[in-house]
């Protein structure tokens, strides 16, 4: 160790301390990190000086060296005061290294550590989410009990943060706080409960981890989130997947009834494997009658299946154990292929996977039999892998494959790895006992091995033969004789002991040899191993009892030797035997039975797999690997007899968070649907998004099972439909998916019917399905065209439900509600109202402007991906609302004169950008005013200020003369009004163009209540507030005019106001999501006060400046 460091310090040479500037040039070179290790204490002084210098480079260098010390495990604690001063450094790298230091030493220097706390508290409010997150991380990693309340507060706040990344870190912090102070448990559970509801895939894994750590027994917290977790699973990062799957396995074992058939367990399954298909079907049918799987149970099994294809071995193993523990036995088979695949991975993965396969293969041979050859051993495998493979091969051996296996074993026996050869011999012994057909073959083979040159092989063979002979001793006198001869050559104690035991046991069958053997052994008694000595004593005793004439003296001699042996075991045994076999006056009644005791029929040993009893540990766990219960191991409970109430998993209606789906918005609505109402409209948009979703294949569920899952959701939907839909799901099970969804559709429309008429009561019997179809045909006859559109509508709704339940917004009640509403509207069909609502809608739908669809530019799946992204950023408190409609204000991007006939205008559609949640979406309309085609229009070089980003539109191949096309792009302005300059290029030319956003376009409207508004406003005072007085004519101060004017300037949302003279508007900035609150308060005498509250003071004041003239002019 020290020689190494010495070498490093030499390399760095003398220049290190003298020339700081120079040294910084090689910050990553060894000198920076390891220069110190020739450590004399003076150098620490030097470090202190560097830390106190003004230059960041010196500080950084010092920090790097300190981190080097920490990495080496050297003590750097005395630098604590000097380091902690730098915690507020502007340089992010210094800061991070200080964090590293703090986390390492804070526990030792608690008082000093407290000095840093305020810095973190400040950083927790930073607009940059990375800084917020890392502040939380460090704060929660400092193990100083005094700050527990501060941590608790920080966690609570962070768990409501807008950024899912910060929330993820909050979930991690929960565990840290819990380990620091378990008394916070109750409060932490509250936070966990809240975070479990989080819809972001980023958070899911971490919060489940926290759950497992803090309150694994509070299974009730999972109920409501169960379906969401199942559905999110595929999109969660891989580490989270492992944790969630393990947790859900435990959950399933407590909440569902066993899918396994009673009693029959293993044997039956093996039979199933061999049985013909018909048989199996019959069986499954039979089972079905008595058992129907809970749809939630099925959901879990179905949604984890794709993860078997994961590249992460831990995920594959987690799914495998889930299947093993909770899926019906007939479905477990699919995991074997994936597990076998893992065997190609590195040594450590192989080791764990093979262990688990070994356990499985004991119970279910059939599963791995097709992969028998994958377990063949290579000479290059490490011994531990070899023995595990051998174990599995043994488990898989049966009459059919034993001959192949034995041939394979023959190769192994000759292996240079003697430990492995010995294991092989044992294996052969086990096969011989398990498969009676080959017992003789094996025995012969083993006897041949007795003449092997290698002692270990011979010894092991002897031991195994001993065990085999014990099972059928009668006919093997020859072998015993042969083995007796071996005593001269074999030196391995176990083998010698085995031979002696064997001779003793069969002494009556080899009457001539046995006394001779005893004689030989008596001669060398003192030099034998303890194990052998014990067996000599035994042999002596047995011979004394059967053949005392020849051996009496010999035995007594041996007993005398044993009496003075060094080993107390042997002395004890000697005494015991003497009392038992040599009759004297003191010997009790027992000696009469000595013969019975020594020569009793002994049961043959059972050669069992060492993995036999491991199956009571959950597969894939540490406890399973170690075969002992590890600390913190949670037992997998047995299936409950009766399933707990499944309705606990139903989710109440959650406020429907608005989804922004470009495809949906842009899609022209079918006019027939438009009259349905506003909420309807929204659903439709989400509906179409779900369409694209399922097309893309990134969705979690499987398409063909759509019908199924809508079944599930309808079951949740509401209690009134419950009985009905239950029968539906039962019927559904027996049909193919397609048929299912079809009939389902009908039934659904029928449901609505029922409700409408209120006369029919829904009947839950199975036979109902026919009546259902009848009535649905009724409704068809009622009005054909209508019911057709209606049924189409319902399918849509189904789709939507499917999509939503996937995201777990789950507005099932809404679904029922929609249907009801549908009915009502249907009743009042009235052309007039239809027209009116159409108009309304147009007003409300700002995207009615003809716009080139972004759809072709993006594959549907990408949209789905992006949509998820948007979804994850909506917060619980602040929801982005629809922008108030304003006339589109276009700006010239490129004039046709300067653009050689290509004209470009841009406007801000005020939609959340589909290309990134921090981007402002910009629509560009390109016009070709020339008389020839303009080809290859694209965006060339970009000159963006630091931090700004731009998502360009796709190259337009060609634009016809007089043609016009609108494309959309996204620009992240970083909440500044800086100009985005870029080049608009055609095939031949490039034009420099600029987009400067009006400050009002950097916002997204936010919906909030007046109360929230006031609360937020209260927090944004002082520096964050700007205000001005406006003077204007009273007619300009009517509510509608103010609204009009404000929204024209800025993309803000209207906050309902209780007071007539105060108008409030709220928005958030696109990039950082900071709130922007605008208040217009009317005063007497045609004046008004305009107040803007925001963290982004610069934008705030710019906005104020822009609003003022607009509001004051006539």
């Amino acid at each position: 160790m020290s020689s190494n460091s010495f070498a490093y310090s030499e390399q760095s040479g003398g220049g290190e301390a003298t020339e700081l500037g120079q040294e910084a040039t090689s910050t990553i070179s060894p000198s920076g990190a390891f220069g110190l290790f020739s450590s004399d204490l003076k150098k620490n002084e030097d470090l202190k000086q560097m830390l106190e210098s003004n230059k960041d480079s010196a500080k950084l260098d010092a920090m790097k060296r300190i981190v080097g010390m920490i990495a080496k495990g050297k003590n750097a604690s005395e630098l604590f005061p000097a380091v902690v001063k730098n915690v507020a450094s502007k340089n992010i790298e210094i800061k991070k290294l200080v964090y590293v230091y703090l986390v390492r030493y804070a526990e030792e220097q608690q008082d000093l550590a407290l000095l840093s706390i305020s810095t973190f508290q400040r950083a927790l409010k930073d607009p940059n989410q990375l800084i917020r997150a890392s502040a939380l991380r460090v704060l929660s990693s400092i193990r100083v009990p005094i700050i527990v309340p501060i941590m608790m507060l920080a966690i609570k706040e962070a768990s409501a943060d807008l950024s899912p990344y910060v929330r993820k870190n909050a979930a991690h912090a929960i565990q840290k706080l819990y380990s620091l102070d378990p008394e916070q448990k109750e409060m932490l559970i509250e936070v966990i409960e809240k975070l479990l509801k989080d819809k972001s895939t980023l958070v899911a894994g971490s919060v489940v981890m926290a759950f497992e750590e803090v309150c694994p027994d509070r299974i009730d917290l999972i109920h409501k989130n169960y379906r969401k977790l199942c559905n999110l699973l595929v999109d969660v990062e891989e580490w989270g997947q492992v944790v969630i799957i393990h947790m859900l396995t435990r959950y399933a074992r407590t909440q569902f009834v066993s899918p396994w058939k009673e009693e029959d367990g293993l044997e039956d399954d093996e039979k199933n494997f061999y049985d013909s298909d018909d048989d199996q079907k019959e069986k499954t049918d039979k089972r079905k009658k008595s058992y129907t799987m809970d749809p939630d149970h099925r959901l879990l099994i179905r949604n984890t299946k794709p993860l078997l294809q994961s590249r992460n071995a831990a995920v594959v193993m987690a799914v495998a154990q889930l299947y093993w523990h909770i899926s019906p036995k007939s479905e477990v088979g699919i995991i074997s292929k994936s597990l076998v695949r893992l065997l190609r991975s590195n040594r450590e993965v192989q080791y764990i996977v093979l262990q688990n396969i070994a356990t499985m293969s004991i119970q279910r041979k059939g599963m791995f039999e097709p992969y028998l050859k994958s377990f063949y051993v290579r000479s290059t495998d490490p011994t531990m892998i070899k023995t595990l493979k051998l174990e599995i091969l043994t488990n898989l051996a049966n009459e059919a494959n034993i001959s192949t296996l034995l041939r394979e074993f023959q190769t192994y026996v000759k292996s240079q790895d003697k430990e492995f050869a010995a294991a092989t011999i044992q294996t052969i012994g086990r096969c011989a006992t398990n498969i009676s057909e080959v017992t003789d073959t094996c025995l012969n083979g083993l006897v041949c091995l007795l003449s092997n040159r290698d002692e270990i092989v011979v010894a092991e063979s002897v031991v195994v033969i001993k065990k085999l002979l014990q099972m059928q001793p009668a006919q093997h006198g020859e072998i015993i004789k042969h083995m007796a001869k071996l005593l001269d050559s074999i030196t391995v104690p176990v083998a010698r002991a085995s031979i002696l035991w064997l001779i003793g046991e069969n002494c009556e069958r080899v009457p001539k040899i046995a006394p001779d053997v005893l004689r030989k052994m008596a001669k060398g008694f003192t030099s034998e191993d303890d194990l052998v000595k014990l067996q000599i004593l035994n042999l002596g005793a047995k011979l004394y009892l059967t053949n005392s004439k020849q051996t009496k003296l010999l035995t007594q001699y041996i007993l005398n030797l044993g009496k003075y042996d060094q080993n107390y075991d042997i002395r004890d045994r000697t005494r015991f035997i003497r009392q038992l076999i040599v009759p004297n006056e003191k010997s009790g009644a027992l000696s009469k039975y000595a013969k019975k005791i020594f020569l009793a029929q002994k049961p043959a040993p059972l050669l069992e797999s060492p993995f036999k009893d491991r199956d009571h540990f959950q597969l894939g766990t540490l406890s399973h690997t170690l075969n002992t219960k590890a600390t913190g191991y949670l037992e997998l409970s047995n299936w409950p007899e009766v399933a707990p109430d499944p309705s606990v998993r139903n989710v109440e209606v959650i406020e429907l968070a608005k989804e922004w789906t470009p495809a949906g918005k842009a899609k022209k609505e079918n006019p027939a649907k438009k009259f349905y109402s506003e909420s309807e409209e929204e659903e439709d948009s989400s509906d179409s998004s779900s369409d694209s979703d399922s097309e893309s294949g990134s969705a979690s569920g499987e398409q063909e099972e759509e019908g199924d899952s809508s079944d599930d959701s309808s079951e949740d939907s509401s209690s009134e439909h419950k009985s009905d839909s239950e029968s539906a799901s039962e019927v559904g099970n027996k049909r193919t998916a397609k048929r299912n969804s079809k009939s389902k559709r009908k039934r659904d429309s029928e449901d609505g019917e029922n409700e409408n008429e209120k006369s029919k009561t829904s009947d839950s019997s199975n036979a109902d399905s026919s009546s259902i179809e009848e009535s649905s045909s009724d409704s068809e006859s009622e009005s054909e065209s209508e019911s057709e559109s209606e049924s189409r509508k319902v399918t849509k709704a189904e789709h939507m439900n499917y999509a939503l339940s996937k995201k777990n917004l789950l507005p099932q009640v809404l679904y029922a509600f929609t249907q009801e509403k549908e009915k009502k509207t249907k009743q009042n069909i009235n052309p007039l109202t239809k027209d009116v609502s159409l108009l309304d809608l147009d007003d409300f739908n700002p995207v009615s402007t003809p716009v080139a669809l972004p759809t072709p530019a993006l594959s549907p799946s990408l949209i789905a991906d992006l949509e998820g992204l948007n979804l994850s950023t909506t917060s619980s408190v602040i929801t982005v609302s629809t922008p108030v409609f304003v006339p589109v204000k276009t700006h010239v991007l490129l004039h046709r004169m300067s653009g050689k006939g290509l004209a470009a205008h841009y406007f801000f559609p005020r939609q959340p950008c589909i290309f990134g949640d921090k981007m402002v979406s910009v629509q560009i309309t390109l016009n070709n005013t020339t008389d020839r085609k303009i080809e290859n229009i694209h965006i060339g070089g970009k000159r963006l200020p630091v931090g700004m980003q731009m998502h360009v539109f796709n190259t337009i191949e060609s634009l016809e003369p007089e043609g016009s096309i609108t494309v959309s792009m996204g620009i992240d302005f970083c909440d500044s009004t800086q100009t985005a300059s870029f080049q608009l290029c055609t095939k031949d030319d490039c034009f420099n163009v600029n987009i400067q956003p009006p400050v009002g376009e950097l916002l997204l409207p936010v919906a909030m209540s007046e109360k929230d508004f006031k609360k937020e406003q209260g927090m944004l005072t002082g520096m964050n507030e700007t205000s001005t007085v406006i003077i204007a004519a009273p007619q300009n101060f009517t509510p509608s005019v103010i609204l009009q004017k404000v929204v024209n300037v800025a993309n803000v949302g209207v906050v309902p106001s209780g007071q007539d003279h105060i108008h409030r508007f709220a928005a958030k900035t696109v990039h950082s999501g900071s709130l922007m609150l605008v208040t217009v308060e009317l005063k007497e005498g045609s004046t008004a006060q305009l107040i803007i509250n925001t963290e982004k003071t610069v934008i705030g004041s710019v906005l104020l400046r822009e609003l003022k003239p607009v509001l004051s002019q006539g």
């Binding site: 999109d235 063949y376 796709n954």
Partner: protein, 431 residues
């Protein structure tokens, strides 16, 4: 005192500490994510290492009185992690390998020297990869935005401009649900290359017949495409693939329904899929070996004679052939003459390596000569098995063929390329 007490009844899940240990048993780096665990915990590991004799045989999971040690062995280094409670062992193992991969990725090699040279970056990486023992960011593109890999140029620039290697904004990938790709990728030459690499795992017995053979393949991609390309790769014969594991970017459902690989690729090099060709198919074995190895009874020498020839090579040349033989312990030395290539014998490890090169069918390469045995020792029981490496360019032995690559979402025309290689995997000939 306070904290100490608490620790007694509040145990921590997941990875507690990490120690890096070199071959000579020095702990040269330690990192604690929670309270500090003394280095002495590694003594249990050393004990196990001693017992195992061979590094390969050190058990990956060791139980000690207060902790569990889960370790991996990579590139002559042990990564030993300290665990306190129940955890899926594969979780830790997989993570440790990911750490090693990341080092490899950042420093070009995962060696003691590289880690020591970059100890600060290593620390920063470990800090980002694990929070409180739970993995935080393991995607290489996210890490690279947070902590830039070291280059000489960058360190020079940094020292002048005072900028740092540490990113100050949250990587774009971290929040999106395509965390493997960052936004705003830009290339002047847009290229997408795919390497289809197949490896033949086989055991050939004494007589030359195949005991076991299967084909394991991977498709490695090198994608340098601007923007957010959405690719789909289809095969002529996708049914060949029996078992597949995917990079997370691949849309599973498309594969299930259409057998098309559809994905938004990560930027740069990555492994797209790995697959196994169904074992029902007969595997073509491209080489055969004629061997005659014998050790004479009661004499201190033996004969060694092997010849390699092509077989079922689909008309391609087999190149890069290397034969490795672990000779029995009693072998002292070997005097051999190769007709082609060169050979070495290491008398300490008893490993014979014959670097053959290419096979020319006119004159088959062979290696002949005498083996010197330790006198007096019994002759070896068994002949050593031969491990063979080879390579065949422009051929996927399974017959897998990429049909086409389509790109959606971006308008430029990328340059596309597919390369096929067949290699020997664990190819063993028993003699």
């Amino acid at each position: 005192m306070y904290t100490k007490l608490f620790k007694l009844f509040s145990l921590q899940k997941m990875i507690h500490s990490l120690f890096l240990i070199n071959c000579s048993g020095d702990i040269f780096l330690e990192k604690h994510w929670k309270s500090v665990v003394s280095q002495s915990v590694c003594d249990y590991f050393f004990e196990a290492q001693e017992k195992a004799a061979d590094v390969e045989n050190v058990p990956p999971v060791i139980s000690t009185p207060h902790h569990y040690l889960i370790s991996i062995y990579r590139d002559k280094l042990f990564f030993v992690s300290v665990i306190q409670t129940e955890v899926p062992p594969l979780f830790v193992i997989e993570f440790l390998h990911r750490v090693a991969d990341t080092f490899q990725d950042y420093f070009g090699e995962c060696s003691e020297a590289a880690i020591k040279d970059n100890v600060v970056i290593v620390y920063e990486l470990l800090e980002e990869m694990l929070d409180n023992g739970f993995p935080l960011a393991t995607e290489s593109n996210i890490l690279k935005e947070l902590i830039k890999p070291p280059t000489i140029l960058r360190s020079v620039v940094n020292s002048i401009t005072g900028s740092s290697n540490v990113g100050d904004t949250l990587p774009t990938g971290q929040l999106s649900n395509i965390p493997w790709r960052r936004a705003g990728v830009k290339y002047t030459n847009n290229e997408a290359y795919f390497d289809v690499v197949e490896e033949i795992d086989a055991i050939i017995d004494k007589s030359g017949s195949t005991v076991f053979a299967e084909i394991q393949g991977v498709i490695d991609a090198c994608i340098k495409l601007s923007g957010m390309p959405d690719l789909s790769l289809s095969f002529m014969n996708p049914r060949l693939l029996d078992d597949v594991s995917f990079h997370p970017c691949i849309r599973f459902k498309r594969w299930e329904s259409e057998r098309v690989l559809s994905f938004i690729p990560p930027d740069g090099n990555f492994r797209l899929i790995s697959y196994r060709v169904s074992s029902q198919n007969l595997v073509a074995i491209p080489v055969y070996v004629k061997h005659c190895i014998s050790f004479k009874e009661n004499s201190s020498c033996g004969r060694f004679d092997i010849t390699i020839g092509p077989k079922q090579n689909m008309g391609k040349t087999i190149e890069g052939i290397t034969v490795t033989v672990h000779m029995p312990k009693v072998v002292l030395n070997m005097n051999l003459t190769p007709t082609q290539g060169s050979y070495t014998f290491d008398p300490v490890t008893k490993v014979l390596t014959w670097d053959v090169g290419k096979i020319t069918p006119q004159k088959l390469p062979s290696l002949k000569g005498l083996v010197n045995l330790q006198s007096g020792a019994p002759k070896p029981e068994e002949n050593p098995s031969l491990n063979i490496q080879f390579k065949i360019q422009q051929l996927a032995i399974s017959g897998l063929k990429v049909n086409r690559l389509d790109m959606y979402g971006e308008k430029y025309k990328p340059f596309k390329g597919v390369k096929y290689v067949t290699k020997a995997g664990k190819f063993q000939v028993r003699t």
